[in-house]
Each structure stands twice: as structure tokens, then as C-alpha cells.
């Protein structure tokens, strides 16, 4: 074989290997998600069968979810709205506290800024679940169990450090001369914050807002421990309750899981570019 032919052969083999790897990755990524859709499309009897592909696919489970016509799903849309409002509140508070703190450290440049940075860093490296037991105890003392505010408080606590890091990093690219010019024109700190800092930080705000909203939407442990009334639960806790019941209607559970998973998926794909241009591509901790 001539050298050129061998090189062509090699390139062709590399391409084939790449295609195979790509196909493998697609299958790997889709299998559990396919299973979700598969079970959601099956009826009650077929769930307990050895079919790999649904033989009589039906949207009955989704209809049940929409109508809340099963006792474990009776509060489903209320729980969706709880998840949503808790998420929006967490995002709003994280943005407010995060920008104020990063402005203090980065723009007002207080001498004690390193203490705030270290506080954020300490919070960042504590695994969230490790504080669940004392946090529950404290909220019990204050009579805050079964109160969404307790869940909001803990989620803001754990979302803020990352927000501060990103805002600090992003804010460093905004020229400090802008602040100085505004000061010469007589602007006060809050005016600089509102008129200069916040508008220029917009891409970072979008990314962190999305991050906080998703962190809250996906959070399970604290919502599970702190909330108990069915009406107040968030969706993941509601889904977890299915597993504790004796009869497990897997098709309803999977249909509800899909409905719950769609909003964050849409957000991921919608904001993907925004995030990668505003920050690094990996700007989001799931």
C-alpha cells in the first residue's frame, strides 16, 4: 500500500471510530430518558411486562397528571407553582445579595472585603447536606418548619457564594474609571450601583439568575425535610412520595417527572449561548 493510501485508510478508520463513539454517547445519554418516556406511555398493566418498546402507547398518564386525577397527583399543579415561586424568590434574593456583596468587595473596595470572600468560599466548600440536621433543628426552634421561607433561606445561602465569585470575576472587566467619572459628577454609591454596575453586569445576572432558579427547582433534601403539608411541597418531594407508597403507578410518576423536567431543560438550551458568552461555558453547577 502506498503511503498516501495508508494515510487515507487511517483517516477513514479514525472517522469511523469517531462516529461509533458518537453513537455510543447518544445511546448512553438517552437510555434513562428513553425509559422515562417509555414508561410514561405505557398503561398500568404494560408497565409490568417485558416489552422494551411500548406496544400500545397512550397519553393517558399525561392526561391524569393534567387533571390531577390520582391521589398522589392531587396537588401536582400546586406543587409546580410552589417550585416556581420558591425558585423565582431564590433567584431574586441571590441576585440582590450577590450583586450588593460583590459591589462592596469589588467597587467600593472595603478593606474587609477578603473576609466576605472567605465567608463565601467557606460556604461553597461545605456540602449542603451536611448542614441539614442542625438547620432542621434551628428552623424547628423558630417554628419555621413546613414554611417555604425556610427552604428559600437555605437555597439562597448555598446559591449566593457562587454568585459572588462570578460577579466579582465578571465585574473585574468593567473599567473602574467609569465609577470614578460618575463620582466626579457627584454620583453616590447606590447610584453607581444601580446606573452603572447593574446594567453592565446584565449577562452575568442572566446566568446567575438561571443558576439559582435551577438550583432551587432541582433541590430535594431540604424541601423534603422542611416541608410536610402536601399543599406546600415542591415537585421533587411530591415525586419522591410515590416511592414510599405501596402501589407504585410508575407510568403516572414518569409522566409527572417529564412535565417537571421540561421547564429546566428548555432553560438550559435557551440560555446555553447566553451563559457561554457571558461566562465560561461551564458556568452552571447543576
Amino acid at each position: 500500500m502506498s503511503l498516501a493510501a495508508r494515510a487515507r485508510m487511517n483517516r477513514w478508520l479514525m472517522e469511523l471510530a469517531a462516529v461509533l463513539l458518537g453513537a455510543l454517547l447518544v445511546v448512553w445519554s438517552l437510555v434513562p430518558l428513553y425509559n422515562m418516556v417509555r414508561v410514561a406511555l405505557q398503561d398500568k398493566e404494560e408497565v409490568f411486562s417485558s416489552y422494551v418498546i411500548p406496544v400500545a402507547p397512550t397519553l393517558h398518564s399525561f392526561w391524569t397528571v393534567f387533571q390531577e386525577s390520582y391521589w398522589l397527583l392531587a396537588k401536582f399543579w400546586g406543587q409546580m407553582s410552589n417550585s416556581f415561586w420558591i425558585g423565582v424568590t431564590v433567584a431574586g434574593l441571590t441576585l440582590t445579595i450577590g450583586t450588593l456583596t460583590s459591589f462592596t468587595i469589588g467597587r467600593l473596595r472595603i478593606r474587609q472585603g477578603w473576609m466576605l470572600t472567605n465567608a463565601a468560599l467557606l460556604t461553597y466548600v461545605i456540602p449542603m447536606s451536611f448542614l441539614a440536621i442542625p438547620f432542621y433543628g434551628i428552623m424547628g426552634k423558630y417554628g419555621m418548619t413546613d414554611n417555604p421561607l425556610a427552604v428559600i433561606a437555605v437555597e439562597v445561602t448555598f446559591a449566593t457564594p457562587y454568585a459572588i465569585f462570578i460577579f466579582r470575576q465578571y465585574g473585574a472587566s468593567i473599567p473602574y474609571e467609569l465609577d470614578e467619572a460618575a463620582r466626579i459628577d457627584g454620583a453616590s454609591a447606590p447610584q453607581i450601583f444601580l446606573r452603572i454596575y447593574l446594567p453592565l453586569m446584565a449577562p452575568a445576572l442572566v446566568a446567575i439568575g438561571t443558576y439559582a432558579l435551577l438550583l432551587s427547582w432541582n433541590e430535594y433534601l431540604y424541601a423534603f425535610l422542611l416541608l410536610s403539608t402536601d399543599r406546600k411541597l415542591t415537585v421533587p418531594v411530591g415525586l419522591g412520595k410515590f416511592l414510599n407508597s405501596d402501589e407504585a403507578p410508575w407510568n403516572y410518576l414518569m409522566a409527572a417527572a417529564i412535565v417537571y423536567a421540561i421547564p429546566p431543560m428548555v432553560m438550559y438550551y435557551a440560555f446555553r449561548r447566553r451563559m457561554s458568552s457571558g461566562l465560561t461555558m461551564g458556568g452552571i453547577k447543576g
Binding site: 408497565v47 417485558s50 466548600v125 448542614l131
Partner: protein
């Protein structure tokens, strides 16, 4: 987390110099700074320092630790935690750094694969874990249905055998988090100037040479930080074990994070639960110190 990898090359990494004009804070600015910093200080004191103090107090009785160490579930939970951290984190990150190389390829279909590949990360953890739990059901799960359809034989009891159940938890963790770390490494690789690779190729280096002599040294710092962070996060991971194996069969697949919650809330002994969690500190603290030192070197920014 965002890991922006700046490569340790003074010519490439612009040194961020502080603006020289350091204006002293005037009186009103000082007040504003205090007011602006107040919300975070309040959150930190009320929801971080106070729970930490309360937790340390809860877990301060030596008797609780005697009770904990005599619990037969405890040693297996420690072992499971170590296996989970060592195997899941390292396997995941190794695959992630290799796959990030694959996603550097040009062409439309690689981008398409990437879009599908990040799905596990975009879908919330709980639905995916519940799906994997049912997928691995030994009697009616998808995996054993496929085995039955293809081979006409019963598949293994994935969640009813201690080792297989722990393996399933590790599988779920890797499935869920592989895309995230791949994208981090992909961002790291994109920061490497392509000229380095071109120069290497001109000198006749093979792909393996390029990986060993360019990618590994330049991404080494990032890789180490990712390993430490991922280990810390996995140490606190509650959901994977809770939803894949539920700690079963027969409490054999608990990790410290889930055993702590079980001891505190199912058994109803918060002090014992806190002791379980605190017993992970000898592992957590060195990891945190290593991470801090690595971050101080400044190659990788949080």
C-alpha cells in the same frame, strides 16, 4: 461552578492589575459599604455559622461516637463512601477529559452529539434517578427486559445485591455528572492556543504525544481542582444513593450523607446523625485545604 482556566503563560494571561487610583472611602461610602454588605453577613451568620455551631454542639458528646462506631451499618457506610468517591469521581473525570478531546472535533454532527450529551445534566436529578431506579428493576426494568428479549435469560438483580447496587449508584452518578465535567474540560482545552498543537504536529508528534506533552501539563491544575471539588460534592451527595438503591439491600449501600439523615430523622436521633456526618470531617478538611492551596496558585479561578 465556573472554572476559567488561564494558562500559566505570562504572555497569554493578561495580568489583571488593580487600578492604581485607590480612593479612600469617604464617610458616606463607608456607611453604604456596610449597608451593602449587611444582607450577606446576615445570611452567613444566621444560616451558615449558626448551623455549624449548633451541629458541632449536637455532635460533641463522645458517647454518641461510641454508639456510632458500634453500629454495624457504620463501617460499611464508610467503606461505601470511600468506594463511591474513589471510583465514581475518578472514573467520571477521566472519561470527561478524554471525551472533551472528542468534542473538540469540528463538524456539525459532533455539535449535535454534544447537544444530546448534555441532556443528563439539563434534566433534574430526581426524575432521572427515579427512572434509573425503575430501569434497573430486576423483574420489569428496561435493562433486564432488553437482556430477556435478546438472550431469553434473566438479567442480574441490579438493586438486590450489595455490590451491584453500589455499582448502580456509581453508574447513575457518572451518567448525571459526566456532561458537566466534560464541558468544564472542553472550556479548558479551548483556552489552549491551537498553535501549540500545530507546532507539535509539524515536529511529527502523534496524538498521544500531543495529549501527554501539551494537554496534560496545561490542564493538570484544572484537573486537580476538579477532582477535589467533585470529591467534596460527591461526599455530600444524598440523592443518588437515596433514589437509586435507597441504601438497600439491607442497609448495605448507605454512604455517610444518607446514613446521617437516616440516623437523625428515621431513627430520630439527631445527635447520632450529626456524629455520622461529622465523622466525615477528617476526610473533608484535608480536601478543602488542598483545594484552597490549589486555588491560591491562581491557575484556576472559581
Amino acid at each position: 461552578m465556573a472554572v476559567t482556566s488561564t494558562i500559566d503563560n505570562p504572555a497569554l494571561a493578561p495580568t489583571q492589575k488593580r487600578s492604581a487610583s485607590w480612593a479612600r472611602l469617604t464617610g458616606s461610602d463607608r456607611l453604604w459599604a456596610l449597608a451593602f454588605a449587611m444582607p450577606y453577613m446576615a445570611v452567613f451568620l444566621a444560616f451558615v455559622i449558626y448551623p455549624i455551631g449548633y451541629g458541632l454542639w449536637l455532635g460533641s458528646d463522645p458517647g454518641t461516637y461510641r454508639q456510632l462506631f458500634s453500629d454495624p451499618v457504620y463501617p460499611s457506610a464508610v467503606l461505601n463512601t470511600l468506594i463511591y468517591l474513589l471510583v465514581a469521581v475518578n472514573l467520571k473525570l477521566f472519561l470527561a477529559i478524554l471525551l472533551s478531546g472528542f468534542f473538540m472535533r469540528k463538524g456539525w454532527w459532533t455539535k449535535g452529539v454534544l447537544l444530546i450529551f448534555i441532556l443528563p445534566w439539563a434534566v433534574p436529578a430526581i426524575p432521572s434517578y427515579i427512572s434509573i431506579h425503575w430501569m434497573l428493576n430486576s423483574q420489569w426494568g428496561l435493562v433486564n427486559n432488553v437482556i430477556w428479549t435478546l438472550l431469553q435469560t434473566d438479567g442480574p438483580p441490579w438493586l438486590d445485591n450489595a455490590s451491584l447496587a453500589l455499582g448502580s449508584v456509581i453508574y447513575a452518578h457518572i451518567w448525571k455528572w459526566l456532561p458537566f465535567w466534560t464541558i468544564i474540560f472542553l472550556a479548558g482545552r479551548m483556552a489552549i492556543p491551537p498553535e501549540l498543537y500545530e507546532a507539535g504536529k509539524v515536529d511529527g508528534a502523534s496524538s498521544l504525544d500531543l495529549f501527554v506533552h501539551i494537554t496534560v501539563p496545561l490542564l493538570g491544575g484544572l484537573y486537580l481542582v476538579c477532582t477535589l471539588l467533585s470529591t467534596i460534592w460527591a461526599l455530600g451527595d444524598f440523592n443518588a444513593v437515596r433514589f437509586i438503591s435507597g441504601g438497600g439491600p439491607a442497609l448495605s449501600t448507605h454512604v455517610l450523607a444518607t446514613l446521617g439523615i437516616r440516623n437523625a430523622f428515621e431513627i430520630g436521633n439527631p445527635a447520632l446523625g450529626m456524629a455520622t456526618v461529622l465523622s466525615a470531617l477528617p476526610l473533608l478538611i484535608p480536601l478543602v485545604i488542598l483545594l484552597m492551596r490549589q486555588l491560591k496558585k491562581g491557575q484556576v479561578q472559581l
